[in-house]
């Protein structure tokens, strides 16, 4: 069953007589239990899409279904079973973390909310500072507080709009694990945006690539990465760097010098060519001290798609 369904969604903003089309007729759907990523450059329309889905913005046209219902028609049910978190907003800043969570637990009609709040505080390592006012929190602590709010009602559909901004690498990693674990346990659907590509790759089952309000492509990250054939190889040799460089030139590959005895070269054709070149290097008797092969990353795909307009 599709938990999120968007068809021909359009949203324009009017500013000083000019019309700006932020979302330009996009369609996509995410199944129950799927983590669906929205990727794209700044201003692509990702947040606008999420804001329409959470009911903060009114769409111009198109249809939306959440949990199988049109939100306007089954407002109460849909709202009670969805939630959202983003690092760019705050809860009431003069209230403490715990007070805020108590308010939101009641708003969402959460049963046993004391227990739920304690669980979440424990999970996000906020227990010690639960009675601190939100205004005094560091940005990472605030981000985690907002995430607690996002999970307070055990949502079936969760919108995460850049929810890991400002987290240190350790907490960010823990947070991703928490999100993944939560999603597995509850079989919920997550619509996820982030500018951290490794995060998108690690979490998302499928990715929709947005640019200028349109969806350019929807696919898994593995399939997306097949769009780029380039492989980068990094080699360090014990001696004879110059000779290796000359040899690679005769093989027709681009070479960059690294530091000391390091060489980097890029093979832009097929994988086969890369393997051929490497095996030839061995046959020539060069003494390798390091060899590293790097496939295309989602960053490469991101840059390729965003620049192709």
């Amino acid at each position: 069953m599709n938990y999120i369904e968007v068809r021909n969604l359009v949203k324009t903003f009017k500013e000083r007589g000019k019309t700006l089309t932020a979302v330009d007729g996009i369609s996509f759907s995410a199944k129950k239990g799927e983590i669906f990523g929205l990727l794209g450059p700044n201003g692509a329309g990702k947040s606008t899409t999420i804001n329409i889905l959470t009911g903060l913005l009114e769409k111009d046209s198109g249809t939306i279904k959440l949990l199988g219902f049109e939100p306007e028609k089954n407002w109460e049910y849909v709202k009670n079973h969805c939630n959202v978190a983003t690092a760019y907003s705050w809860l009431s800043d003069v209230l403490t973390i715990r007070q805020n969570l108590k308010v939101y637990a009641r708003l969402y009609g959460v049963k046993n909310h004391e227990q739920k709040i304690n669980e979440l505080l424990e999970l996000f390592e906020l227990k010690e500072i639960a009675d601190r006012k939100v205004v005094r929190l560091s940005s990472g602590e605030n981000t985690r507080t907002v995430l607690c709010k996002g999970l307070i009602n055990d949502p079936k559909v969760l919108f995460l709009d850049e929810c890991t901004v400002g987290l240190d690498p350790d907490i960010a990693d823990k947070t991703r694990t928490l999100i993944k674990d939560y999603q597995k346990k509850n079989d919920c659907t997550i619509l996820f945006t982030s500018h951290y590509m490794y995060e998108v790759e690690q979490l998302c089952d499928r990715i929709a690539f947005m640019s200028e309000g349109k969806i350019v492509r929807i696919d898994t990250s593995d399939n997306l990465k097949r769009m780029i054939k380039k492989r980068t190889v990094e080699i360090a040799v014990k001696k004879d760097v110059g000779a290796l460089k000359n040899f690679l030139k005769t093989e027709g590959v681009d070479v960059w010098f690294g530091k000391g005895n390091n060489l980097r070269f890029e093979v832009t054709t097929e994988k086969d060519k890369m393997y051929k070149v490497i095996s030839k290097i061995f046959h020539q008797g060069f003494m390798l001290s390091n060899l590293h092969i790097q496939g295309p990353t989602l960053d490469d795909i991101f840059i390729k798609i965003s620049r192709k307009k």
Partner: protein, 261 residues
């Protein structure tokens, strides 16, 4: 409308009231200062003439609180959500505008009552002025009429906030002050120049304070004036509520709720 969601926000406004010194000042500090200023002024003038000025001034101070708090609390509690960029979470939750406003209105009324409970005995203690001695019925009626008018003004400010964002917050702070000269709180409408008297009589509060003065001086109460105050306040309340609903929908089109400004 769901009661548990209204309660959730009442809890929030309770937390806001007790954890923010400004919100406590609203209830205690400013009204008490007002009571002192007008109380001593009344004391002084009373010595010069034999008109019952003191009762008139203190009655005005105590009852005006209901317009002041009812209108300003709506504005301030909405502004608090603007300031902390919290509208995003509030309105992505299952809350409805009607529930949001009901909770603010109820909280504002509770806060007005709290001020009343402070000013009433303080009036007795400091100036031997017991407002309930004038007429409990009229005091209750005044509280009702002034609160209704205060809500209407509050909804109007809320509508402007959702329409234009927090850049118009100066209106939120000043509107009750701008209105107060025309409310004829401390002086009769007849003391105003003709143009100002016209404005005063068009607004509901002046009729309420005229009735209060009539009772204090033992002259007949203008019942039609009170009816006018009721109908005008109710009409204003309905009109501003409608304007607010339109502004709120407008804010969903412009993205104010998502961006907070």
């Amino acid at each position: 409308m769901k009661l548990y969601r209204i309660n959730a926000l009442l809890l929030k406004y309770y937390y806001l009231t007790v954890s923010r010194i400004d919100r406590l000042f609203d209830i205690v500090y400013w009204p008490v200062i007002d009571l002192f200023i007008w109380g001593f002024t009344g004391f002084y003038i009373q010595g010069l003439s034999d008109v019952n000025v003191l009762s008139m001034l203190l009655g005005g101070v105590i009852l005006w609180v209901f317009v002041w708090r009812s209108s300003q609390d709506i504005a301030v509690f909405i502004l608090e959500d603007f300031w902390s960029r919290n509208l995003y979470h509030l309105f992505s939750s299952p809350i409805r505008l009607s529930e949001h406003l009901t909770s603010i209105i109820v909280m504002g009324f509770i806060r007005s009552l709290a001020t009343f409970v402070i000013l009433w005995p303080l009036g007795i203690l400091m100036y031997s002025f017991n407002i309930l001695q004038i007429s409990p019925l009229l005091v209750a009626l005044s509280v009702f009429l002034l609160t209704l008018f205060g809500w209407a003004i509050g909804l109007l400010i809320a509508a402007f906030l959702f329409r234009y964002g927090q850049r118009i917050q100066i209106i939120a702070w000043s509107v009750t002050f701008v209105l107060s000269p025309f409310a004829a709180i401390y002086y009769p409408v007849s003391a105003l120049p003709p143009w100002a008297a016209k404005i005063a009589l068009a607004l509901p509060p002046a009729h309420v304070f005229e009735a209060l003065r009539a009772l204090i001086y033992g002259t007949p109460v203008n019942v039609r004036g009170l009816w006018y105050a009721f109908i005008a306040s109710l009409a204003l309340f309905i009109a501003t509520a409608y304007f607010l609903v339109i502004s709120f929908r407008h804010s969903k089109r412009t993205g104010l709720l998502a961006k907070g400004d």
